[in-house]
Structure formats: C-alpha cells, structure tokens
Point group: C2
DNA sequence: CTGAAAGCGCTTACAG
DNA sequence: CTGAAAGCGCTTACAG
C-alpha cells in the first residue's frame, strides 16, 4: 500500500463495500456490530484517518471553528491583551473536547475579515474576541448576521447576534463596594464610559450603582477615558492627578489600565495603596506580580471558553440558544 | 442566486468555461488578462470565495499549518508558559502573511497526537512547540519523520527533523558574563542541566563557558535542577539557599524559574539584587513588572515565528532547508 | 488562450 | 443490514 489509505482500501480488505466502511467508521446503527468491529480494526491497522476535506466537501460542514481577534487598528499589533490568551487556551481546550478544530486569526478587521472564513467553508462558525470600538464594529456584525454566518461574540449583549459575557456590571459593583468598605469615599474611574466600549460602560454602571447605594456622589471629574492599554491608563491617571478633584482610590476598567495607573501614581511620589488604592479588572497573569500585587476582578475564562464553544455549537445545530452572562469574583491582593 | 456561489455560476455569468474561471482566479498566465479581469470582477460582485475543501481535496494540499503544543503531562494544563503566547502570536501573523491558515492545538501528547493532523490531510505541515522531556519525545518525533510528515520544531537541533532555536548557549553566556561584569564570582544556575532538557542544557553550557573564560570554577553544588515553572524555581532556590554553597548571583534558566527564585530569596530575608542578583531567560511580559524588574535574555519571538513558518513552507515545497539559530539579546533591568 | 472531462475521497439518498 | 451510484466544488492533464 503506498500513499495514504482510503476507505476503498479498507473496503477491499474487509470484503465489504466502501459505503459500509464509511458507515461503520461513524458507528452507524445501520451497520452490524460485527462489521463495525472488523472495519475499525483494519482502519486502525492501516493508520487510516478520514480525509477531512473530502468529508467536509461532501457533508458541507467542516467540524472546525474559527477564532477571530478584532482590535482597534490603532493598537500595536504585536501586543495582544494577555486576557485573551487565557480565553484562547480555554477555547482551544473546549474545541478539542467537542472534537472540533480551531482556526486562529489575529488579523485586524479588514474589509472582508469575515468573508475569509465562513464563506470559504473553512469553519462552521466563528468566535469573535476583542476590545474595539463597538459602534464601529456593529455594521460588520450586522453584515455577518445578514449573510447567515453563525457567530458568537465575547462581550456584552447587543442587538447583533449572540454573545457571552462576564457580568461587567456586577464586577464594577464588586470592585467599587470593596473600595468603599475599605473606607474610601472619593473613588476615580479610569476607562471609557460610553456606548463605544460597552464592557467598560457596564463596569462604570456598576461603579455608579455602588456609589449611589452608599450615598456617595458620582463626580464626572473623577471619570477619565482610557482604552485598554497600559499607556492609556498611565496618561489618564496623570491627568486625573493633575486635576483638581481629589481621590483616595482608583478603579481601573482593566488590569492593563491599572498597571499604567500605578506607574503614574508612583511617579507623582504617592504610594499604592497608602495614598491611593488601585483595583483593576480581568486578573491577567501579570496582576499577581506587580508591585504592589494588584487587587482585581476575575473573569472566569475557563468557563467562558466552554460556554462560548458549546453555545456556538448549539447555534450551528440550530438548537435554541441565548446569550449568557457569567459571574465575576473579586481577588483582593495588596493594592487596595 | 441562492446558497454560496460556485465557479460554475461565475462561468455562466462571464460566458466562459468553469476551467477558465478556476485558472483566472489564480492568475494563471494561460489566461488572457482581459478574461482574468472580467472573471475577478464577477467573483467579487458575487462575494465568491474558492471552497477550500474542494480545492484541497483536488490539489492534495490544504494551505493550512498546524501548531501543536506539547508539554509535560505533569504540568497543570491550564498554565501555558507565557513565552509561547508570544510565539503563537508571531506564528499566526507569519502564517497570515503567507496566506496559510493556522490550526491550533494545546492537546497533550496522546498516543496518536501526531496522527490527528497531517494524516487527516488537515494541515500541510506541523509546528511543534513546547518544553518537555526531550528524551521522551524523541521516539514520537522519529515516528513522525518516518511516516513522512513535514514538521519543524522550536528547540535545539536534534537528530530527528528540522528545528529552529534561539542561541541558548549564547544567551547563557551573555547572562553569566553580565553577572561577572557586575562583580559576581559565585553564580548559581537553576534549571535542569541534562540531555532531557536540551534548551536548558545549552544555557548551562553557556554559563559554564563564561565562568571558565573568567577563570572561575564551576561548582556542581551551585547547580540545581528545575523545570520551567515558578514553583520549581521557588523550591530549587530554597534548597540552594539552605545548602552550604554561597552565592551572590543566580542565573535562572527561564523567567518563570527566576520569579520563583526571587520569591524564595525574599522569603529568606535577602534582597534582590543587593544580596543576590537574579537574571532570567525568555523575557516574558511579566518580567518587566516583577519587583524588582527582571533582567533577562530576550528571544526574538517575532523573528522566530517568521523563520519557523517560512522554513516549514520551504520544507513542504521540497526546497533545501536547514536548521537555524537565532541570536539572543540581554535585557538589563533592576534585578542585577 | 480556452473547453470538455476526469477525479480528489468521501457521504448519502436510493434500491434491495 | 448492505451495495451501486451520484455528487460535493474544485484543479489539472488532455486536446484543440
């Protein structure tokens, strides 16, 4: 036998038809157990594997999922938010568990970033991951949906399509409540708080609700926009520090922002948490190594990856599905 | 037009045969430029994409590469060395640049971890990434090679197959020389120094050569085994600290080990770098956030990913290829 | 420069 | 329970 074995080779050796081999390999109830056993034994012996391209072409489904990262084109493309690596690992594992392959792309959203995938039948569905301007990506999502692509997004629920998200509002509430419990009354919020960045906006909402619950005023001067980079956190905090509004604690909308904030605070000759307590969001690996170690809100990436994959699979099978929100937990370390 | 457009739809609209469409789409010199333009215009208009499964099945090549992580089964599977994420990002980008897709798998090496890939025609070649016991993985690699699978490995050159690696020996030499220049004479090495972990062993060789070059003795008591985890670094350093051999500097075979080492040193009531200077290897993102910020040896992951992909592609095209070694650079921060 | 035809290796009605 | 046959959507000799 030269080259890869085919189902015909097995059929020949097993003394059955190729159709029967195909059925036996997939445990069809139509085939006698005895035949199944015989076929499988020979297949194993020949180190035979079903040719995915042939079966995908014929059955019109590929048993692979695509993972697309979309980020603001402005961010340095060599720097991916570490948070997404945790998601990637968990998504990969969840795919493997379901017998699906995972195609990964970090490409930034080009004009037909979507087209390259499902359209070309490479994947049965798409998982979308990324922090980016939500308002800008909506039209693309709408287009995806309109052309019948199965996809699921990590992020807050929106009009377009299915999404899985952590409970950002709860997280924001937990972070802020923790700060209030520590005796802080003037708490700054660093991160975009607009519909452009709904995840941050939800975290901000949680911040506001915790403040109000404790009869504390929400001061616009204590909120400063920042996208999720260390540098943005650094710049924004510097501005906050130079402003008139005083504060003894700072809630950063992401760990990366928090790290930049701590840098700015230290540069101003202040101590964390002595002068200003800082809490982040995400619990990226770096968080436990910063000095001081960063208190933060943990998102359950392990669960998130699983839910993302299983829900997308349900969508593909046309089972009923719904957007899901996953609870967050606070991780208290030394920065608060 | 319902469903996805096929090359026949285009042929019909363009008034040419389907064969011509297929050729035109791939810029065949056999086709008149005018025809090419017309065909492409219609294809674009229909949002047509070549069906990858059909073309792969026919041409017997998939234009996708597979990335396999193999790690010691003993390590916690949720924790992947951050260093590999940088590699992953760069490999993904390099693949995209070459027009190849990337299939990712974190699965641990099962009995037929290899078979699932190339055998099933899903990928044209495999990139192997991971720290694991080298002696144990050799037989599997040999099997891969024997069955004609195209693959490339990140790691020191070995008998089995092609590999790309950073110059571990040079890195070890740079790290140790740096410590010596800082006035240290008694330098510990934490990391496995055996053929089981050839990357570490090479770093150790570099350490030895720097020592010898400066007429310093190589003391076995100053070397302590550790695999590449924070915990291993912590435990090994603790043992070293409790031993009789004194040292004022420590070269950790990886950043993760270095972080564990710093923890152990601090716990012993000693200062870094005051009492013991520490240098790591890898330059993972965390390295610049530890306290003190970690001096380390940087591996050029950007270049590594590109070389890995382009060399594998050359191998697939049966062009002449050879294993390549990439130079390392020292990054001096506050821990030395 | 273009077209008609074969065939990649499967899955799945259809017929028995 | 099994087999003969069609066909998924391409690429590529072969013929002109």
């Amino acid at each position: 036998m030269k080259g890869k074995a085919t189902s015909f080779d097995i059929a020949h050796l097993a003394g059955v038809s190729q159709s029967t081999v195909s059925r036996a390999l997939r445990d069809s109830p139509l085939v006698k157990q005895e035949t199944i056993d015989k076929v499988k034994a020979i297949a194993h012996q020949l180190n035979y594997k079903v040719d995915k391209h042939a079966s995908s072409l014929r059955s019109q489904q590929s048993h692979t999922l695509a993972l697309l990262f979309f980020e603001d084109p402005t961010t340095d493309d060599s720097l991916i938010n570490p948070f997404f690596f945790a998601m990637l690992a968990s998504i990969t594992q969840a795919c493997a568990k379901q017998g699906y392959d995972l195609l990964v792309s970090f490409q930034q959203l080009s004009n037909d970033w979507h087209a390259d995938y499902e359209d070309s039948h490479k994947a049965d569905g798409i998982i979308l991951l990324g922090y980016g301007d939500d308002i800008e990506s909506q039209p693309k999502l709408a287009q995806l949906k309109q052309q019948g692509t199965r996809f699921i997004r990590w992020g807050p629920e929106s009009d377009t399509g299915l999404s899985i998200s952590c409970d950002n509002r709860l997280g924001g509430y937990q972070a802020t409540s923790h700060l209030i419990e520590r005796g802080h009354q003037r708490i700054a919020f660093v991160g975009n708080a607009s519909k452009h960045y709904p995840e941050f906006f939800d975290r901000y909402q949680g911040y506001v609700s915790a403040l109000l619950e404790h009869q504390l005023a929400v001061e616009p001067a204590l909120q400063q926009d920042a996208i999720t980079t260390e540098d943005a956190g650094y710049q924004s905090t510097k501005q906050l520090l130079q402003g008139d509004a005083e504060f003894t604690a700072l809630f950063a909308a992401s760990d990366l922002i928090a790290i930049g904030a701590i840098k700015a605070i230290k540069e101003a000759g202040l101590k964390v948490p002595g002068d200003i307590a800082v809490i982040g969001f995400d619990d990226i690996p770096i968080a436990s190594y910063t000095s001081p170690a960063l208190s933060t809100i943990r998102q359950d990436t392990k669960l998130a990856g699983e839910v993302l994959v299983t829900t997308l699979l349900s969508l593909i099978k046309e089972e009923p599905v719904e957007s899901i929100t996953i609870a967050t937990n606070i991780v208290v370390r030394s920065s608060t």
